[in-house]
Symmetry: C2
Subunit: 223 residues, 2 copies
């Protein structure tokens, strides 16, 4: 696959509810995936559903998932080639209407369906994940040791079967069913921001904050 065909999800993925919220723009998908840091991986495990948060990064037409948080079930799903679903969601704002019913949330959400695969070159995948999570950091620290790489598991998931939905803008209201049309309606945006870096007790007194961290705090929000 050289591109993600969002216009033709597998037949059982069709959006039945609110189909007008389906997004078929690959740039919008990539923007969402590149802005968020953590997604939720779901699989069937011991006969029932399981879902856990996992850090990830997009590398072209794949997502790279970091194995440590997901723990055993992600590695097992990869080994057994059982299907998984991975959701990435950005909550963008609260939509305030003049009836409770028309309140809503602005969001962007992508669900990727597929099979996890082991990554062959884990050192490169780890570099890419790190570069995504904290750009420039890899150049500030020593190289990973062989032992560290051996303890690291990076899995990948192709962006072949993806459904994206989004809601943006103000509230929509039925034309006339009793709202007070003289009152306020609108959106309260929700943003995430990096706070001031906090030095660990490991840091000797007077040591400056590294460039990568300064840049992160300056560029601001991850989404």
């Amino acid at each position: 696959m050289t591109s993600t065909d969002l216009s033709a999800p597998a037949p059982d993925r069709r959006i039945r509810r609110m189909p007008e919220r389906q997004v078929t723009d690959q740039a919008a998908l990539h923007a969402l995936l590149d802005a968020e840091l953590v997604g939720h991986l779901a699989a069937t495990h011991y006969g029932g559903p399981i879902v856990v948060p996992m850090a990830y990064a997009r590398a072209g037409d794949h997502l790279l998932l970091h194995g440590s948080t997901g723990g055993g079930f992600a590695l097992r799903a990869a080994a057994e080639r059982t299907p998984v679903a991975f959701a990435v969601t950005s909550l963008d704002g609260l939509v305030v209407a003049r009836s409770l019913y028309d309140h809503s949330m602005n969001y962007r959400s992508a669900i990727v369906y597929g099979v996890l695969e082991a990554v062959e070159d884990e050192a490169s995948a780890l570099d890419l994940l790190t570069e995504r999570l904290l750009p420039g950091r890899a150049r500030e620290v020593r190289a990973s040791t062989r032992k560290e790489l051996a303890a690291t598991r990076v899995l990948r998931l192709a962006l072949d079967d993806v459904v994206m939905k989004a809601r943006a803008g103000g509230p929509s209201e039925s034309p006339d069913d009793g709202e007070d049309h003289s009152s306020w309606a609108g959106v309260v945006p929700l943003a995430r921001t990096w706070g001031e870096p906090v030095a660990s007790v490991l840091t000797p007194a007077g040591v400056p904050v590294p460039e990568s961290v300064v840049a992160l705090a300056t560029t601001g929000a991850p989404s």
Copy 2:
């Protein structure tokens, strides 16, 4: 159930990876659930896993899930009493170490396992959900109509089988494997904040922002 026994998850839920990160404090669980607005619901659907974001609110020892985003599969899972898993995650910070390997994220995550049930008194459940998402708003708008209530689905999930994990604090490093101990290590906190309310085109000129929205912006971050 009058309380959630986090110390005794079902046998197949035991945390095998990083068991030191398991949280068994009910107050910490409730604090997480009461701070977040959206979780991820997973189930088995058409033979494979599916996961979607859903708004929720905690009501005592249950979570109330709003049906519209989750669409058909959540309603179907409730009707058929098939097991689901619901994850609520707060990403709290980026942990910066002096080796790539020791970088991490601070987070709190709860996974609730169970069966979704229809809520009998949907009007009350909807009020509770709204009060959680935008406190005070219900008193500012007209009551929901019978038609609106009929179109609303609220599902509930008992907090009986929950696994919570958390990581907090600075990086942990192996004592001596080549890090530059004269350099910086620490945490970059990640916070979510409500932005300035934006009036919709539906709002007549000069209408003030409602008290509920002012209060939301003032109290600040949902997590």
